[in-house]
Symmetry: C2
Subunit: 553 residues, 2 copies
């Protein structure tokens, strides 16, 4: 799997999904092209999916929010006759590297989280209309929706057959949503997750696995009725047209470097690190909501978010050896603040709101990225407001203190804004500042009083906003030593350490999926009982069951 | 590692700890006998430890609560000159099987949790008095204490060097307590966990890693002063003498079976299952607190808890292939209720209270046991009050419904008591009933109204207290099919599934340690970067660093 995985697509290129719009209701049909797999060696039969199918789903979910803000209800259904979705493709999983499997699951999880949050964030509720087998990843698609409808045709069933069939766990949040979202009684959940054929009809409803069962003859009509009802009940009103997400400008270099319009990624494969530099706005902030809408996808903070998001996904999947990401920025902090202010001042405008919500998702993607993250707050940088969040998302940060010989850029400063105190919560439900200062909540209060001020290195270090603030004499060595040391550690140990250090405080379904469930799945994905030559995943389809070492760990 | 690991010990047999009592203050000195390892092949140098060292620690912590209820402060210190504790022995870890490593960490975690809870539960606070290197598991010993004192001698330091040194994580809750108990700022935590030599003096205090630093010349005096202060401030008053925990009766059979006085464990190694049968009280409940104290360690519920606890630990470590545990009980439910009532009615009596608290710990040990758990509620059984908790700790349960031919025992019944609604919270802070009925909290309210009634199968099934209630015709097949099916699944997939299904609802530091942290550690314990021939753990002490695959997962 050495070809470049591209996360950019648009509806004209979809091979696996059909989307149609009818006023406030959108219909999203999964109709996977079995010959359209991202890699060779497997056929995507029975609406099974690989990363390519999910990239299209993520794209349509994203476009729904920007291009079709009028949508209130999205109905996900199958475009095939007798199957809803067979889940992630097993042959793909069995042949994929450990790292690809893990990153595939991470991305599909992020996509599920994105449409699960669309109801509360944007008033777009998802209905899953299940006809036919809805197995494994298929049920995980469904359970991330707001409402699951199952036809009562005597055979259609929902199931999580991974444990009995493949000796792995459902990899996309299924178990966590069974216990914490659907709140299924644990012994029934145990039966459900141990039963290859799954659960159908009345029992599926009684066990809280679906919300409604409908006689097969009335299924389409009742689904349409529910979609209308949900749309009518939505308080979310939009009167301006959507904003088209135009193609990104991007150039990929031979050396792995990425050049976008506002994001530059320099990749040093030998040193195993990437330097991601974000450009602040070159122009004035939109003077009005009308101006913001007129700017559309070109408005600075949306363009920056899209480019950064793409860079993150590209690096995660295509540069697996690059274990250390360094965030930099250059630009005018006052302009970043002004551009963000133009959004924050209009909480009732759907487009302004969607840009902020998108940043929330991009920042969360950074939080769960298993790379070591650091930030360099240099002279001329613009870590203000939303960009300052990056400083609290990274594992370490360095800030230039005092004058640097020959450097006449404006002194390094950090500017906090109102958004740092609420607009971009982490998966744990707290702001990054609340998480950072869990032991000293009074620091957050004190920092709130410093909003809008350009905080220089001495203050930033004293207030705990950065890890180190070296001066001209020490800067180069301090940064170099850290980068070299970090690159020398075991990537696995770093991944485990960072996953545990980044999420102090409360847990949510989201942190539990990325933390507990993912960690157990990763463990199982290493165990011979699953992935060994005689393991269940490798033997799937051979007619021979897995050969298990029966020792309990 | 095929010899039987015995969890029973007493102070006369300790090789690694010295405990002295002085009124309300106990002193616990760690002085590991380097030739006293549980297995061959390693020396326990520098106060490093293996499971045997921790079995003694668990014993002393337990005896402190029953035999020395007058103790208010326990001071843990080193019995050696220049080292506090070097952590878990690396050669032991490097040579241990994966299953042993994981179960070793689980037991040490349970021991840390036990003394961490002793303050809130029993008014016994732990002070850790650190002189010399306090590394890895040594710091994890310290951070589970209520108060950490560090001598400021210019060299004594606390550290978690596992990641940089061994390419693994601290395995006993260290990282979680750094973020969630000590609430160390995440970038400082990252520095701390990446620094082999650790942190000393003022910085250790500033970073919240210790509570107090003391000049070396005054260290012993200040520690003694703090111990007296904490003891004097304790509201916990005890006027009756302790209860000696007399040796357990236990016979271990060649086939792995265990026979205690009240607990019988039948082991079927071929079928990979153990049947654990608990006997209800044969006599009347103690008529008074004086009678309870007179019964001492022989009182039914304490004896039963101790025997069950020992059986659990024995099976976990010594019967790793036995992946399915079946809980049964036989006895008079009314007597179980009466014996428990004799404890519940005296919340101010330290001994009654300690027996209930011990059951809380035993039940939690069951919750985190990575074996499939089921319960059979048969005629003649006594799943009442505390024993009914077992039904809500297991993954599945079967209850006999109606008359069974030739069986004239009293009909199977479940009796809930007040204790099921609060005395035995799980690690998530909820009762097992609250966790079970997370989706229908009204069920818990309804069940509270049924306290004291003998609930027969029909009612128990309807109320969701058991999974299945087969009658005479179906019972044998239903149970057999389940047992056979369960034994056929991959043990790893079961472990992951059960760990995710058992703990719905809120997370606490405790669930996070056993869930998220443990799962990441288990994953890393499988990765070649740590445990491969060229991995850091295997190469430790060779003078050659680990050779890492640099791919990030």
């Amino acid at each position: 799997m050495t070809k470049i995985i591209d996360f950019q697509t648009d509806p004209s290129r979809y091979r696996h999904w059909r989307v149609t719009y009818d006023g406030a209701v959108a219909s999203l049909a999964m109709d996977v092209d079995e010959n359209g797999g991202l890699f060779e060696g497997y056929a995507l039969k029975l609406n099974s999916y690989d990363l390519g199918v999910d990239i299209e789903l993520a794209d349509v979910v994203q476009r729904m929010r920007f291009e079709h803000p009028e949508v209130r209800t999205v109905v996900i259904r199958s475009g095939k006759e007798r199957v809803f979705c067979a889940g992630a493709n097993i042959k793909m999983l069995a042949s994929a590297s450990h790292a690809h499997k893990v990153n595939f699951c991470k991305f599909t999880n992020e996509t599920r989280n994105a449409y699960e949050a669309a109801g509360a964030d944007s008033g777009q509720k998802y209905i899953c209309a299940v006809k036919g087998a809805c197995a494994g990843g298929g049920y995980e698609l469904a359970i991330a929706c707001d409402y699951i409808m199952l036809t009562d045709d005597g055979s259609s069933a929902v199931s999580l057959p991974e444990m009995p069939l493949l000796a792995v766990l459902p990899g996309t949040g299924g178990i966590t949503r069974v216990t914490d979202k659907r709140k299924v009684r644990r012994d029934l959940a145990d039966v459900f997750c141990s039963t290859e054929e799954g659960v159908r009809g009345r029992r599926a409803k009684d066990w809280r696995l679906v919300d409604e069962i409908v006689p097969n003859s009335k299924f389409d009509a009742v689904v349409a009725e529910r979609a209308r009802q949900f749309a009518a009940a939505s308080a979310h009103k939009v009167s301006t047209p959507g904003v088209t997400l135009t193609p990104l400008q991007r150039r990929i270099g031979e050396d792995g470097s990425l050049a976008y319009s506002l994001v530059d990624v320099a990749v040093d494969r030998a040193a195993r690190r990437a330097t991601i530099t974000l450009a602040g706005p070159g122009g004035e902030a939109p003077a009005s909501i009308a101006a913001l809408h007129a700017d559309g996808a070109q408005t600075h903070l949306l363009r920056l978010a899209r480019e950064l998001d793409d860079a993150i996904l590209h690096l995660r999947l295509n540069e697996e050896q690059v274990g250390l990401w360094i965030f930099r920025s250059q630009g005018d902090p006052a302009r970043v603040v002004a551009h963000e202010r133009a959004l924050l001042d209009h909480p009732d405008d759907w487009f302004a709101s969607e840009i902020l919500l998108y940043w929330k998702r991009v920042l969360k993607r950074i939080d769960v990225t298993s790379r070591s993250l650091c930030a360099l707050v240099e002279h001329g940088s613009c870590f203000a407001g939303v960009l300052a969040e990056l400083l609290f998302a990274v594992d370490r940060s360095f800030m230039m203190s005092g004058a640097f010989e020959g450097d006449n850029r404006p002194p390094a400063a950090i500017t906090l804004g109102a958004s740092n105190f609420g607009n971009y919560p982490m998966g744990n439900g707290l702001t990054r500042l609340q998480t950072r200062f869990l032991g000293t909540p009074e620091t957050v209060t004190a920092l709130a009083g410093l909003q809008g001020q350009a905080l220089l290195a001495e203050t930033a270090e004293k207030q705990g906003l950065v890890t180190y603030a070296p001066d001209d004499v020490d800067w180069a060595d301090a940064v170099r030593l850290f980068l070299e040391e970090r690159a020398s550690f075991s990537p696995d140990a770093l991944t485990g350490m960072e996953a545990n250090l980044r999420f102090a405080g409360p847990e949510t379904m989201e942190t539990r999926i990325f933390g507990r469930l993912t960690a157990w799945q990763n463990w199982i994905f290493q165990r011979p009982n699953a992935v060994g030559e005689n393991g269940a995943l490798k033997r799937y389809g051979s007619g021979v069951r897995g050969d298990f070492n029966m020792q309990r760990v």
